[in-house]
Amino acid sequence: VSADQLDVEAYAAQYSGRTRVARLLFIAERCGVEAIQLEALRMAHDEARAREDTVLYLDAVLKINSRLGPRYRHDQAWVDSVNRRAEQRKEKLETELNGYRTNLIKESIRMGYNDIGDFFYAHGHLSEAFKSYIRTRDYCTTSKHIVQMCMHVILVSIELGQFAHVTNYVSKAEQTPDTLDAVIVAKLRAAAGLANLETKKYKLAARKFLETGPELGSNYSEVIAPQDVAVYGALCALASFDRSELKSKVIDNINFRNFLELVPEVRELVNDFYASRYGSCLEHLEKLKPNLLLDIHLREHLGTLYNDIRHKAIIQYTLPFISVDLNTMASAFKSSVSMLEKELAALITENKIQARIDSHNKILYARHADQRNATFQRALQTGNEFERDIKAMLLRANLIKHDFNQKNWPGQRKMNL
């Protein structure tokens, strides 16, 4: 993956919190260029050290592997001191919490659990953080508390990769009776979109991202940047929406336009697709591909999304015509005729295009099934199947009537063959 255009610092600046480190580490792992890799690792290391997150720190140091000089070597002393301090703090928090629990003051208990959850989260112990946050549920009194709890759980779940929980808690948060703050609504939508994306429900993901309000801004930088919302939303929409939806929900969507402005390439891309300039649309996609492969959430889905978009483009191209010259089409899609022919054959076999290929003259002819013939054929076939099934059934009924039991065989008749 050549991502020589990637500006690691600028990219990392969009995020905050743990996700910054996680993303940097991800980039370092996947990127093939050593310079960028080291840059990312260096930043990851510094960040982890500043946050006193020993888990991520150790991870970064391992990957650096002494390539960056003495300052970036494994500093066990620092790790130990951090751990000791953490241990002390944990004990303090736990004693406080126990105190609150004996006093049975709901609010304090809730805050106690929250603090412990935050503590665990900051030090990278995600599953304990998750458990602590879940515990606050019983002590939530106002809807604000519930929303706060949900947001925490969502954050941890995203990092843990448990997107089912994310969806659950998003809906929980949305169901609170009070009207929510617009920023929070936007955050919830973005989180829901992310969950759907990771569980491969691209259409739902697209919808959620498109509904995310511009109030999101950079308020959710510990999870997702607004550019990401634009990119994810646009790609999922292209791969799964049909034309009318694309127009109404993406292109005419004022809210989403704010996001698209942040990534002008993607905006171009969507417009090209809608205007049937498939060649340039696919070119844009190819250009974006290396950078997108470094994105922590998008990577596994990129292949499928790209394929879907390409197929959609091909299908849309052939739809209005009775016959299409494969040469023109190949130049429009910037691929060779034989490759295009293979793609078309695959799409026809999957019944996504109703057409036939004239391989001799390299023309694609639209084919509309003859309904009358098809009906006759189906009727005759149904008749045959009915006849066959009924006869077999009558035979079986008769067999059962005669108490068809093979145990009677040997002694039944002596005049065997």
């Binding site: 391989s359 009924i390 006869k391 009558l394 035979l395 068809f404 008749r413």
Partner: protein, 482 residues
Amino acid sequence: TPLGRSRAHKSTIRRSSRPVSSPPTRRKAASRTAPDQTPESEPSSKGKAPSAAAAAAMESVEALVAHIQGLSGSADELAQLHGLLKQADGDALRAHSAGLLPFLSHLHPGAHSLGYLYLLDSFVSSSANLRAHAGGDLLVTVADFLTSCSADQIRMAPDKFLNVCRVLKNEVMQLNAPIRGIAPLRAAVRKIQTSSEQLTPLHAEYLMLCLLAKQYKAGLSVLEDDIFEVDQPKDLFLYCYYGAMIYIGLKKFRKALELLHNAVTAPMSSLNAITVEAYKKYVLVSLIQSGQVPSFPKYTSSTAQRNLKNHTQIYVDLSTCYGTGSYSDLETFIQSNAEAFQTDNNFGLVKQVLSSMYKRNIQRLTQTYLTLSLEDIASSVQLNTPKEAEMHVLRMIEDGEIHATINQKDGMVSFNEDPEQYKSSEMVEHIDSSIQRLMALSKKLTSIDQNISCDHAFLMKSGRERARFDYDDFDSVPHKYF
């Protein structure tokens, strides 16, 4: 008469140790007066010195023969005769079975079928007699009888009739001339059937003879009847199996599949070898016909569902290999398991499965392309040269499996639409006859349904399970709204 009467065979002629007087007392009076009868002389040609007792027994047989001739007129007389014959059956006839043959010439197989049958049956039941008369006239006599006997009469003693047919079949097989048994057995099948929908044990044997003689068309006449009544399980399985083999020989794979399907899905409590073999062929024929093996329908017995696949593992593997669509893989698989297929006598079918793979791939191409060059066909179907592709396509066009034209100059094949327009009078006739057939079938189904609904046992069972009171039946407005 129940078909399941067991009988001990006595192959030796019992020396008569009974008092001579007993046979005559078992007959009615006037037994000795047989006006048209010329008493046969002793059967010295049979090689046993006739004793006095034997001679007397012979006379009683004569008397019997006289009865047969006399009483073969109306139904009452036949019933009476049947009683007599049943009495005589046993020692009297059996002991002197060797001597019965000449008596047969006094009887007419058509008019005196019942009596003829009894005599013939006891004659052929002794293997000594059969050995003495191997080949030659006996076959002709039996064949003659089967073709000309009267259906009503022989239906009174079906198990004897079946026995005679069996003997004929065995003889014919021993002589290695199965074709000689075909015509008589076909006649026999028709005669013993009470209705064309009934399956008799003879069906299976007849089909076996047709298979051995390779006279597939002869088997067709019996196979075309639909079978709805079956008395014995073994008959059905053998019938389905042999019938399917005949259809396979005629390349009518769809009908073969129907029969095999019946064999595989019949109710059974334990697995039998015939079903296992039938399933093997079922897998192969399904692959040839439709490219995949359907899963067991839910009415298949659980024994079959659980155990069939264990006994036929290589066939299951074959079908998965076929599913991958690669010709070379399939070929290697078949080669490596060739022995197993050979021992099952299925190698010919397996080779057909292999060639059907090409056909299926080419058919898939017709769905996607309007014209395609022969090289492209060859490469996508994994053939070696365009020439081979051309041959395959040509053969498929001739067999009517695809509609296409080959342009040799360009090396192109154009696939055409099915030219059937469903407008011709033959098509209309075909549709019309289908409709008639289905309406008849549907009527039959309704009548069976009505019969069952009136059946006592059914009403008892379903009545018990129904709710006692259904308020909705009585009140359209529930009480609480009053």
